[in-house]
Amino acid sequence: MLVVENLDLCYGDAQALAGVSLEVRQGAVVAIVGANGAGKTSLIRAIAGILKPKRGRILFRGQNIAGLESHRVCNLGIGQVAEGRQVFPTLTVHENLLMGAMIPRAKKRRAENLDRMLALFPRLRERTGQAAGTLSGGEQQMLAIARCLMGEPELVMFDEPSLGLSPAMAQAVLDTIVDLNRQGLSCLLVEQNVAASLELASDAYVLENGAITLSGTGAALLADDRVRQAYLGM
């Protein structure tokens, strides 16, 4: 479904990604594991069209989307639950959700999807008229997920969705991702809770200093000594 080939990305002179290749198959959960500053967010933003890669191809359903503008990438069905949630703080919860459905692919069924999201996330239903900036971290993360789903994505890239949440809230977010995947959503997952993300993932990649150094099934990486030492503290 998504194939990344030899992707290079630079911030000015600093290279953030060097020759990154990976694949997300339809219906899979693919985990990316890496230390702070490894380039995980840069990779997601490059795929989303927010950052322009210097070299390489990004194929989505066979079409090269490298260099396409972000709103066009979104409209092809690649959604994002971004690092830091990126809700619109002064807009209401309701308006935030509607913003997820501004892309043409999602316009027709906006009202229907809105009802679906409010049923899926009852905490948001109670707060539809409230400014998003006044929500708790967990509620904002729910909002970010719901807003993304308003765009009817086929693939969602989650960037540290449980960061800064209480353990119970973090678990709820991971459970939501599992549920969405069962309903057919393909997922690319960057998660600080490495053990949990490798357990969910069918495939996983280790990103170090902007390059993929290890890849395999989630279970294989979970058992790998290097991963256990570097990321699981064992």
Binding site: S70, H71, A82, Q86, F88, M102, I103, R147
Partner: protein, 290 residues
């Protein structure tokens, strides 16, 4: 001086201030969303005054009525301008944006000078010298009509930002640009619409001003400065602030010109500006930067 004169000046100040406020609102919207300061704002106001003057000459169209078609035309101009000239400068350093827009203002002024000459122009409306009297208090008809038109345009704008999806999307882009890219908003289009809306405001305001004052091509810089003062006093990026700031400056200038002399007008508004910057740098309605 009699009490009724003060009331009169106060009312005139508020009415004029509403028109100023509409002009400043345009500057505020452009800066609040696109994060570019329109240094040619006053020149666009003058351009709108000439458009109103020409429409009056050709069709005897009242400048206050003409404010609507002129606003529409200015929207298109602003949209195109952002798409073609300004957008490439959005991510450039501020001094480059400054040069672009100051350059544009110089082009506008000189084009007007070449075409129309330096003479001052005005429109003779049937009600130019009429006024409403409330007891001893007299209020110019033209100012009442002008303020009413400014209020209509401002209300329409508030409604656009508050109740339409495009309006919400523009607020979203101003709120969190990364978030806007994440959900797939077409930010360049929203910027073009915002620049268009900003110019529509100044277009409507300029046209209305043609019914209230005389005009020369050289009026631009002082109007730009006026809009700046209002926006900074009211609070950058705050729509209510621009409107309130407009009325405040309108009243302050009107009072100053009767109490002291008309030539002291700008000194009073700049003093107000300095006062606000010293005591409340974010402006009266602005939020403090985190």
């Amino acid at each position: 001086m009699s009490f009724s004169l003060y009331v009169e000046v106060l009312i005139q100040g508020v009415l004029t201030g509403l028109v100023y406020g509409l002009m400043a609102l345009g500057l505020s919207v452009i800066f609040g969303v696109v994060r570019v300061v329109n240094f040619a704002h006053g020149e666009f106001a003058v351009l709108a005054m000439y458009a109103a003057f020409i429409l009056f000459g050709l069709f005897h169209l009242d400048p206050i009525v003409a404010s609507l078609p002129i606003a529409a035309a200015f929207f298109v101009v602003g949209y195109m301008l952002q798409r073609t000239v300004v957008q490439p400068f959005v991510t450039r350093p501020q001094h480059e944006q400054f040069i672009l827009l100051v350059g544009l203002s110089i082009v506008i002024v000189n084009a007007l000078l070449l075409t129309f000459g330096p003479e001052s122009k005005h429109t003779d409306l049937s009600y130019s010298f009429d006024s409403y009297s409330l007891g001893a208090v007299l209020v110019d008809k033209a100012r009442v009509y002008g303020a009413a038109a400014a209020l209509v345009v401002t209300t329409a704008l508030f409604a656009f930002f508050r109740y339409t999806l495009t309006g919400a999307a523009i607020r979203a882009a101003a709120d969190n640009l990364t978030g806007a890219a994440v959900v797939g908003l077409d930010v360049k289009r929203l910027y073009a619409i915002s620049f268009g809306v900003g110019l529509a405001c100044v277009g409507a305001a300029g046209s209305i001003m043609m019914a209230l004052t005389d005009m020369t091509p050289m009026l631009g810089p002082s109007l730009t400065l006026l809009a700046f003062t209002i926006v900074i006093v009211g609070g950058l990026g705050s729509m209510a602030g621009a409107l309130f700031g407009g009325m405040l400056i309108g009243v302050a200038e009107a009072l100053a010109s009767v109490i002291a002399s008309p030539s002291i007008k700008s000194m009073v508004s700049f003093s107000l500006l300095v006062l606000v910057l010293a005591l409340r740098p974010q402006g009266l309605f602005g939020k403090a930067e985190a």
